[in-house]
Symmetry: C3
């Protein structure tokens, strides 16, 4: 399913036939992008520093190498030529090429972040030729609830109702998971316990007043924990941002190891905890996945960003992570290129690792085939109770 | 000493003739194991998650690849075939084959954890054809003391006496080291100072009451520190659990870097601090080994668990760790397979690294020979004042 | 510029023609060294532990392999032969050979630490055949000010004047940057905000009294922060020690990730923050460099210390670090060998990585040339407003 011209470096045979489930991604920009706009989306930072270009990075060189051919340009095309050709083809065609080239079997989309100017999830699915599930961002539901008007005493129950409505199986796209960005809002080093209703009401009283006055985002730790537990109560897998992200977070306070207390509380409930991204703390995340039945991991976002080094990251992850607990995600946002690069690098990295293990007689080819399918698609299909069709 | 059929991948010549000192391990299960029992011992977690198998992991694939031939099965034998053959041979023969295949020159055994149903250390030594030393687990001594009856005011001195008795050179097996599992019980981020006698008596008063009532394990930080300093006072090397372990710990609070304060206090005393496991914080542990004369390191537990990636871990450890401060351990527990895999992966990893350094002319072969012996056996023989014969 | 006999392992073509800017180093010992003295400088610790040698380390083997030929000895010469030949040639000739072999285009020297017995920076530059800039160590300026006599109420302004004088463009060598060793003195986990004048006066009152009585070094967090902000106010790039160093620091409290709060405060000011060393937290530092326009990174100190593994460290750094934000430093101190090894390993590591990326068609050769120049020299020339001539 990887079209000619997009074949990644290294052997990928074991992943060639696997339509990946991308269990966490975002949509892509709906319109044209100039060079500044494109470069701003080629980094998790605020854009390139003065005197530098985002193209001069592992991700930037990956775009010129692996995305240029999908636009009928030679590999390593110059940045300006690349952007000119992108403009010439237009956003719709560009999106179609990159999403189509990713070869995914399903896309789970978080559309609760900076969704203005992004393609609706259904259109993203059409471009990818794959069904779309929705990841319900709990903090966005809470903020919408606050803005719609709710009193502090009723906030706790009202959020429960709002999350129930947003995750109803009749919703379109099909809700498949909840998600928390606790890491961005308060850090993962908070008390993981479910707060008492009285605490929630008191915290809501403060936040609702502040939000009405200043638009304050949901950053109150009590309300964040209430949201997280409200998500867990749905029984749907709970995705959590951990590791590498944008400058709103303190990276070291997004270390997934800090979730050990939450994992202990969730373990008896059996609700899957999906640790997203994890890099550069993926070895710690892998330990959590071994130590707790409910914990699952991916190395999304890092995979498209770090170029051919994705192979090393996946090897590091698979040191301790049980192979049945590892999933694929791109965490692509904004640029359709990231959907392609995520899939391409993941196929190349995991495929190359499996090929190497076979070549050194550490793994039998039949097991390699099985592992490729497990990590690429089957783990997601097993863990997520719902799959969009 | 690695028998035919067990030859690890890659060059191992420099380690071939070295009978390793395994300076930290546990004993193995004494009886037969069914599939669930075996899979539960193939992970540091509570067992495989529903819908997954512990065989689908770096460790599981290692067993099928490297242990199957020792049971006269083809490499990569199916899990069920492997377990059937294991049952057919019986625990005694299985233990003899794996321990014998490890090629160790001495085993230092911590028999103070979950010892029910494990082979006595002397029998483990017989199976390995190697003398056994004992690692005295300080928290187990304290809990035995509490259960035997002691008053709070006399607890501090009584523990000193009990540790003296347990570490007497006349004991059999020969006590070679003390060990603390502070990381599991309170985390390594506690005040490292020796507590005052009055503090100890007060803390003992509380704990002895609670233990009598509820069986509470020793988790009081004051008493843990008292135990640790009681161990240091023996002058024997003090082993400390750090890094990767079971879900009772908070991994990030088991980071050996947190022991810097203790290292500063112990440095003038000259008592060796042996940092066990360390993974995934082995680069930080390596710095401690360079910065403090008393600090020594290993990457036990990770070595058998992470498959062929052991080579990378050892390379990372040797970036900063002085070669004279690095030791071998398996940290094998329960499955005799782990004794074989620890030794086999360590030989392959360190041997392969040394071979690579010679091939790239970074190291002279005579130095490689010397380093192999140093890390495999001589460092342990130098640092441990006592060696069982 | 790397003389015959010093050619590092692996392909280095892309760096061959690049005269590196070493943006952070120290001077070298001015006189002869016996074996104990030499071994004490081959480690960041207090010297080799009893029964071990500093030569048995990645750095020690590097010296025997790569420095011996520069003294007309065979590669892998024995330590005693190496030291005898060193003595025979004398410190001046040894320094000339190693500094000359480094092939640097400029040296930025921190001469504010343990400068007794070190060559004056100008002589270091002569040996290297390169101009020298000065890195002004803020804590040293503050301690000199205290010792010269200042009253607590005037301390804040007096430090500002002293730093202004020491960083004046008319000074010789040319001051190019300020530097803080906050990591050593209080840890990086302090409040990053600029302290109020009243706080500074109160803290100065305490410290000046204690220093007069006991010689206490500057460890007060308020005064350290005042120094740091005084440095930032000059507008010169601010170098900060992070990561790997000597046992005075708590390594985990020197994690550059802890500087995220400072980075947020400095971002709107546009003053470059230069994170030095970073290892083993270089992946976290790389994220900071992507997330904040003002943040720049290097992996000095680790590069000469960890042998051929420098290649891996640089590959890990370049996963997330924008290529326009990465610089070269040796952090060499005491031994001229470290100036050579820093440059040689850096050339080999970055050159080898670029060669590999070209060989796997991830990078076009013209881009590899450009990246080599960017990281080796141009980034430093762009970021530092001043360059010595």
């Amino acid at each position: 399913m990887v079209s000619a011209g997009l074949v990644p470096a290294g052997p990928v045979s074991f992943l060639d036939g696997v339509r990946l489930v991308d269990h966490h991604c975002h949509s892509v920009v709906d319109g044209p992008l100039d060079r500044a706009g494109f470069e701003a989306l080629l980094t998790e930072g605020p854009g390139p520093a003065r005197g530098t270009s985002s193209f001069d990075s592992a991700l930037g060189f990956s775009v010129r190498r692996w995305c240029a051919p999908a636009l009928d340009l030679p590999a390593h095309a110059a940045a300006d030529d690349y952007l000119a050709r992108r403009t010439e083809l237009g956003p719709e065609e560009v999106t179609r090429r990159f999403l189509g080239g990713a070869g995914v079997g399903a896309l789970f989309v978080d559309h609760g972040f900076a969704a203005d100017g992004l393609l609706p999830p259904a259109s993203l699915g059409t471009a990818a030729g794959a069904p779309v599930g929705e990841v319900v961002r709990l903090e966005a539901v809470a903020e919408a609830l606050a803005d719609a008007g709710v009193d502090a005493g009723g906030y706790g129950e009202a959020l429960r109702d709002a999350v129930a409505a947003r995750t109803a199986p009749s919703a379109d796209p099909l809700p498949v998971a909840c998600k928390s960005v606790l890491a961005y809002r308060a850090g993962l080093d908070v008390d993981p316990a479910r707060p008492e209703p009285g605490e929630v009401a008191r915290a809501a009283d403060g936040w609702l007043r502040r939000r009405a006055a200043t638009g304050e985002p949901l950053r109150d730790p009590v309300l964040l924990r209430h949201g997280l537990w409200t998500g867990l109560d749905t029984g749907l897998p709970l995705q959590m941002h951990t590791g590498f992200g944008d400058p709103d977070e303190d990276l070291h306070r997004a270390n997934p190891a800090l979730l050990v207390g939450l994992a202990r509380l969730v373990e008896p409930l059996g609700v899957p905890l999906m640790l997203l991204h994890c890099y550069p703390y993926h070895r710690e995340a892998a330990w959590l996945a071994q130590a707790f039945a409910v914990v699952h991991v991916d190395v999304g976002l890092a995979v498209p960003y770090i170029g051919a080094r994705a192979a090393t990251i996946i090897a590091e992850l698979l040191e301790l992570a049980p192979y049945g607990k590892v999933l694929y995600s791109s965490d692509a946002f904004g640029l359709p290129e990231l959907h392609l690069l995520g899939a391409l690098r993941f196929r190349s990295a995991l495929g190359g690792l499996l090929e190497h293990l076979c070549a050194t007689d550490e793994l039998a080819p039949a097991d390699a085939e099985r592992v490729a399918t497990m990590i690429g698609t089957e783990n997601a299909r097993r863990v997520y109770g719902r799959m969009p069709a």
